[in-house]
Symmetry: C2
Subunit: 355 residues, 2 copies
């Protein structure tokens, strides 16, 4: 008799994705998962509290119309039909893989970048292939040269862990040579100087994902979205759960999107901190990759990155130690408040005195 609990083989084989450590709330300074160090917009808090006294016994709007209208306004899009709302951009990424990549087909991603894309391929029973960044974090033209079995390409832009950006012109050139959709994951785009949303209007195979977890400071609320041409939104909408976003998070995300001045202010503050921390890290001897995101990738000639991570952790500062096989390792440090960054730099300085 067969095993009455036999999982899909793809699932039994795979390792789960491990997100960054989430210590219990307390004294730890969290600079490891690129959260916003500032509390959210008070308008957002008020919107949630108002929604809490609303008709929670009723199903929410299945397509988050209020949010999509506010987002279309903020982004200069023709209308809400260009937007698909999701339970975090994680859900949007899952929907994209399920929409385009069948079992035994492939998705492509740059290397090093966000390894969750690989997990999404694994869950789907699909394969993945990585194309390495060249010096200066540029992508070879071959990244856009997609054989028939590559059904989807992911490009985080700004990239993680590097914080580097490909220009819209470069993205357009890559997408033009692809025979499948290109997903530009713009989780960190609010911290950069440009973005690719205008390209979506011109090219049906350019799809842009965004999240409210980083720049809007709402990681706890789980809200993200896809920007794509209306026929793409309509097809991919078949995959989502009927009521994928709850009333509270729709209210929060709508209020957040309607306060672009708050966003500009917090981004300016964080980018100033990023510039200051990059300079100080360089003074400490780090090789600092110029970042357009809310984190900084740095390596030190001493090569003791893992030991530095552990020393910081012992001192209640959590950064991300990352090791990429056949490539190298380093530290990815999220932009915190100025005080948090000063504390981190002080401990790094004290570590380096003993090297």
């Amino acid at each position: 008799m067969p095993d009455p609990l036999s999982y899909r083989p793809a699932l039994s084989r795979m390792q789960p994705y491990t997100p960054g450590e989430q210590p219990a709330p307390g004294k730890t300074v969290k600079l490891n998962t690129n959260e916003n160090p500032y509390p959210p917009n008070p308008d957002v808090v008020k919107a949630i509290q108002d929604a809490a006294t609303g008709p929670l016994n009723r199903y929410p709007d299945p397509v988050a119309t209020a949010f999509r209208r506010a987002a279309a306004d903020a982004l200069g899009l023709p209308g809400p039909e260009w937007i698909l709302a999701g339970n975090g951009s994680d859900e949007i990424l899952t929907i994209l893989v399920r929409g385009f990549v069948g079992e035994n087909q492939k998705l492509r991603l740059p290397y090093p970048s966000y390894i969750l894309y690989r997990t999404l391929a694994d869950i789907q029973g699909a394969a993945w292939e990585q194309v390495a960044f060249e010096d200066g974090w540029q992508l070879p033209a071959a990244f856009g040269d997609t054989p028939d079995d590559v059904r989807l390409v992911f490009l985080p832009n700004p990239n993680s862990p590097s914080g580097t950006v490909l220009s819209a012109t470069e993205v357009e050139r890559l997408a033009a040579s692809m025979t499948c959709p290109l997903v530009v994951d713009e989780a960190y785009a609010d911290f950069a100087d440009g973005h690719c949303i205008e390209l979506v209007k011109k090219h049906a195979n350019i799809l842009v994902t965004r999240t409210l977890s980083k720049s809007y400071g709402l990681a706890g609320v789980r809200f993200g979205y896809l920007v794509a041409q209306p026929q793409v939104i309509s097809q991919l909408g078949k995959i989502k759960d009927s009521y994928n976003c709850d009333m509270l998070s729709i209210a929060a995300a709508t209020a957040a999107m309607s306060s672009q001045a708050w966003l500009a202010d917090v981004v300016a503050r964080m980018n100033a901190t990023r510039q200051r921390m990059s300079g100080r890290l360089a003074e400490l001897g780090f090789d600092v990759t110029p970042s357009k995101a809310n984190f900084v990738w740095c390596t030190h000639p001493c090569g003791q990155h893992q030991a530095m991570y552990e020393y910081l952790k012992k001192n209640q500062i959590l950064v991300r130690y990352m090791q990429f096989p056949d490539w190298g390792d380093g530290l990815r440090i999220s932009v915190g408040t100025d005080d948090q960054i000063d504390a981190c730099l002080m401990i790094l300085e004290s570590y380096l005195k003993n090297v």
Copy 2:
């Protein structure tokens, strides 16, 4: 050159699932999607408002530990490792299909029942097969006789649209003969006299899903969960998005689960209304299926179900008209407040005067 936007064939072929109508808030009496007519527990509202001033800029607990502890206590389970929390039980159902059913394999469901299961198979590129209920809403023994290509069986219990229940003994007997997992969808179990959670402790292939949308009156919050043996929870946890439940809904669901007295009270009130409406519908000449859920399935010898639905709708009362090919049609009426049900019955009475 291939189409740069080619969806998985399964997706292009499929029709999307259409949930029940959600009219704009206003005067409509909604008796069509089995929501709870009463406002949620004030403790839940307070928990959300408190959480709104918490660290929303941080990621939530990826495995909703606080909720799982409260749920394990409420359900008499050994511990939180028997529970997987989801963004509505819809997400749990999606995870189950992705966990067990590969492209070109099959899932099985009774007929008539919840057609969303078919949509989930379609999205996955899998097939589905239906086994018809026998007279008296019993299932033939053949329902448990699963060939190798059937990888998952769904059993809503209580069933929709009938509101009928198979006993735990009957469920155990069916599961014992299956060579795949049996998902007992207990969305409506709080309105019934029994449930199958005890069976999970004995049988690894019995998996129970629950939702907070119905009895707890929290459809707007999107929270559901799976009860299964710990090794099943652990495997299926690989499929969910890393942070699938947000801080606000975790706070709400934890507070809800911690107030079992509130639940008992609202269920008693709704079941009393169900009994009263069932009796009155019978007096109006309807054939009423005895229900153990928060809705009633009824047919009338006049057969004018669709016309009745439309007449009710014209009078701002929305019920669910359901038509099952090769089986028949009827009305599924959710248990509302006593006033709402009185209004519905009055309009049905007025319709029937002219038949």
